[in-house]
């Protein structure tokens, strides 16, 4: 029982990363109907920006000039990095996606893939081959609750990511911006006829998606404090799986699928020999899709979608 | 026995009853019309007959054999050809390719021929090319054979769709608003084409239309559908004078 509970805690943390990243992915995906294959790498960039900001703040604070407590640094880091990373997202949108808006979707996917490679390689060229360690902004405290080990970081991560998800869900469902985003997903050519500034919405979408990726990057840095230029690849592809598994354009779906993916991975490793983890975990995903061919909340394939 | 016979067909979308107790029997060579207000369920009836939806209840018999529940391609193969209300052409294919492809189920070379380019395949391809060109000529669009469809004027696209439907070798041709978006002159051309098709190929035609001129001049029997139910069936004159039809569909001003 303890064992089981422990794994639920584990899965919650792990799932919340998938969910957070899938969420950012899903933002772009649901609005522009694009696979933003650069998203994993934006996550990486977000983590590095977070690393830069945090290190800067820690150093600043260490000089004694203004001594900041860890949690203030954390909050500042998150906010600043969200801000900075959203620009990365907007640049990606401007360079890689806007020119391709009328093109087949797959072409834009390829541009995203390529932008991702450029971000990775650029990072490698700038930062060198070494990996960096994310500064531990808050003191790690481990609670032992009847044999189940929980750290304050885990709680923080799950809570923060759930909060962002809820906020985003409300944003997309309740505000006219969200509605405009959903409309763009369907047919962006006539969206301007509704008085909706398409470019602004697209930029906003990328900005929000990237800001979320930055949050995910920083939380990731706290939980798994080893950053390297290629850390986003696997996450990017798995977020891709989660975003779509959740159902096209569904924020709740993406969140749920992200957690589900985390749970599947953790529990498969718990129950089966862990060498078979990917084999079994992805077979489960495949089966889910065979029986729910349009994801959890998705709509059936519509012929309107471009190639 | 009628060519196509439908008995007590009913269909629901979720809670919405789109078609209720629909009956039809078409004889070879007949031209039938289906009119009714928007959203009455006309297109749905087409979709039910051609297998895109499966009716909740009822029977559909083609030449006496039940076809409800078959896949659309099987139904098409047995002789029900159709066009779509919202033009469903293949964006990246030429006009000729459209018509050739509609011969798909009747191709006599298999995958082997497709892979290895056997002489049988070349003969067969030549044969369907010739036949497709004949159909295009009949529709007066043969000169566009090598064009990609999105570049064509609307009227031409409709005619390509019709040629494509004819290429499946139908016994009954279903036309869903074939003149939507056409000007009066093109309307007259289209009527001539439909007459020609009927005469030279001898098939039955089932037509949804809102252009009264067309329905009244072409059809032998007209059904009027309102809220999924047939409220009147009869010759053009009967329909035109039927008060229920005037009330629900035509409107007084139009008739006058």
């Amino acid at each position: 029982m303890v064992f089981f509970l422990q794994n639920i805690i584990n899965a919650l943390q792990w799932g919340s990363f998938y969910a957070m990243i899938a969420l950012g992915y899903s933002m772009v995906y649901s609005i522009l109907m694009l696979f933003n294959f650069a998203h994993g790498d934006i996550f990486m960039v977000g983590a590095y920006i977070g690393f830069g900001v945090a290190t800067g703040l820690v150093t600043l604070s260490a000089t004694g000039f203004i001594a900041l407590p860890g949690w203030v640094i954390l909050v500042l880091t998150i906010l600043l990095s969200m801000f900075l990373t959203s620009f990365v997202g907007m640049i990606v949108e401007r360079v890689g996606y806007r020119p391709l808006r009328d093109a087949p979707r797959a072409s834009a996917a390829i541009t995203g893939l390529m932008i991702g490679i450029i971000l990775e390689t650029g990072n490698l060229a700038l930062m060198g081959a070494r990996r960096v360690s994310f500064p531990p902004l808050i003191e790690s405290v481990t609670y032992n609750i009847g044999g189940v080990f929980v750290t304050n970081k885990k709680i923080l991560i799950v809570v923060v990511s759930l909060a962002f998800m809820l906020a985003l869900h409300l944003f997309v469902q309740r505000t006219r911006y969200g509605m405009a985003m959903r409309a763009m997903a369907f047919d962006f050519v006539v969206v301007p006829l509704m008085g909706v500034p398409v470019n602004t919405i697209a930029r906003l979408t990328f900005a929000i998606g990237s800001a979320l990726a930055a949050v995910a990057g920083i939380l990731f840095g706290l939980a798994y404090p080893v950053l390297d230029p290629y850390m986003g690849i696997v996450f990017g592809w798995k977020a891709f799986v989660a975003a779509i598994l959740g159902g096209r354009g569904s924020i709740m779906g993406a969140t749920l699928a992200g957690f589900l993916l985390g749970f599947i991975e953790i529990f498969v490793a718990m129950i089966f020999p862990s060498t078979l983890r990917d084999l079994i975990a992805y077979s489960i995903i495949l089966l889910i899709l065979v029986f729910r061919p349009h994801g959890f909340f998705g709509e059936p394939y519509s012929a309107r979608l471009r190639l | 026995m009628a060519l196509l016979e439908i008995r007590h067909m009913t269909h629901h979308f979720g809670g919405l009853r789109a078609v209720h107790d629909y009956n039809l029997s078409i004889e070879p060579g007949q031209v039938r019309g289906l009119i009714g207000p928007n959203g009455a369920g006309k297109t749905t009836i087409f979709n039910l007959i051609t297998g895109i939806y499966r009716p909740s209840e009822g029977q559909i018999l083609l030449d006496g054999a039940p076809i409800a529940g078959l896949a659309p391609y099987q139904i098409a193969d047995r002789g029900l050809g159709r066009t779509f209300q919202d033009l469903r052409l293949w964006r990246h294919m030429t006009v000729l390719e459209h018509v050739k492809l509609a011969h798909y189920s009747k191709l006599r070379y298999g995958l082997f021929g497709a892979f290895f380019g056997t002489p049988a395949r070349h003969r067969e391809e030549d044969r369907i090319t010739r036949r497709s060109m004949e159909l295009l000529e009949m529709m007066n669009v043969a000169h566009l054979a090598d064009q990609l469809v999105p570049n064509l004027p609307y009227g031409a696209q409709r005619r390509v769709e019709m040629a494509r439907a004819l290429a499946t070798g139908p016994k009954v041709l279903f036309l869903d608003e074939p003149t939507a978006g056409m000007n009066p002159e093109e309307l007259i051309q289209m009527m001539a084409i439909i007459r020609k098709v009927r005469q030279s190929l001898g098939l039955a035609i089932f037509l949804i239309e809102h252009r009264l001129k067309m329905v009244m001049e072409l059809c032998d029997i007209i059904q009027t559908l309102v809220f999924g139910e047939v409220i009147a069936e009869g010759s053009p004159e009967e329909i035109q004078n039927n008060p229920a039809v005037i009330e629900a569909y035509l409107g007084k001003e139009i008739v006058e």
């Binding site: 959903r182 369907f186 | 919202d86 004027p153 978006g181 056409m182 009066p184 002159e185």
Partner: protein, 238 residues
């Protein structure tokens, strides 16, 4: 003059769709453009609502101000020119209500929106029955109503209508046109109408233009055009 268009030229890649046309709209008018398939009618509307780029040298002014300096969304939100595009182009994944709400995206007078929605439902009661249905599953005619309703929500200075009668049942077609006239009279909305069904369009409008192969060949008030033998021959079915 509410809207004036001078020397409007548009091309799609190598295809020239409009070869420099001039026309104008006065406030509160109903004007129609008729012409054969591919004459450039839809292109004209798209140019006004800035959906297609125009070639240099084209001029368009709205109430004296340069329309070309506004991007597409601001033509709607600032100038109040709404456009019912060819083929309706609804957002099939949104419900009927959401489609209407979306059209108010940039409106400042948010308090009036509920009342306006009710007015749309008053004109098209059918839409109210389907209010939370996904618009993609509406029948053709229902979609047309929604498209007009949507335009009504977004801008009411000028409405550009591209073939509103397409696919409508006769009775409904009449009621749509009646509704349009009602909007025109009550709100003072200028209507620019593009129609294949030339007779209907000319009966409904006060002035008309005839477009052929990208150029305006005839203009005049509608009654005159209806009586014109050339127009009769070419567009009214003899």
């Amino acid at each position: 003059m509410q809207l004036s268009v001078e020397n409007l030229r548009v091309s799609y890649g190598r295809i020239k769709a409009l070869h420099g046309i001039d026309f104008h709209l006065d406030k509160g008018e109903i004007v129609c453009i008729i012409g054969a398939n591919g004459a450039g009618k839809s292109t004209t509307l798209r140019a006004i609502s800035r959906m297609v780029p125009v070639e240099p040298g084209s001029r368009m002014t709205y109430m004296g101000q340069d329309l070309l300096k506004h991007p597409a969304d601001r033509v709607v939100s600032r100038l109040g020119i709404s456009h019912v595009p060819e083929g309706r182009r609804l957002f099939g994944n949104l419900t009927v209500l959401e489609n209407l709400q979306l059209a108010t995206f940039a409106r400042k007078d948010r308090e009036n929106i509920p009342a306006d929605i009710d007015r749309v439902f008053a004109i098209f009661p059918r839409l109210q029955e389907r209010v939370s249905q996904k618009s993609g599953t509406l029948s053709g005619g229902e979609q047309q109503m929604l498209a007009i309703g949507r335009a009504f929500m977004s801008g009411r200075k000028i409405m550009l209508l591209d073939e509103p009668s397409m696919g409508l049942a006769p009775l409904l077609m009449l009621s749509v046109f009646k509704a349009l006239r009602e909007i025109n009279q009550r709100e003072g909305t200028t209507i620019l109408l593009v129609e294949q069904n030339a007779r209907l369009a000319l009966q409904f409008s006060s002035r008309g233009y005839v477009l052929e192969n990208g150029s305006l060949v005839l203009q005049g008030n509608s009654a005159e055009l209806l009586a014109n033998p050339d127009v009769k021959k070419a567009y009214l079915g003899g």
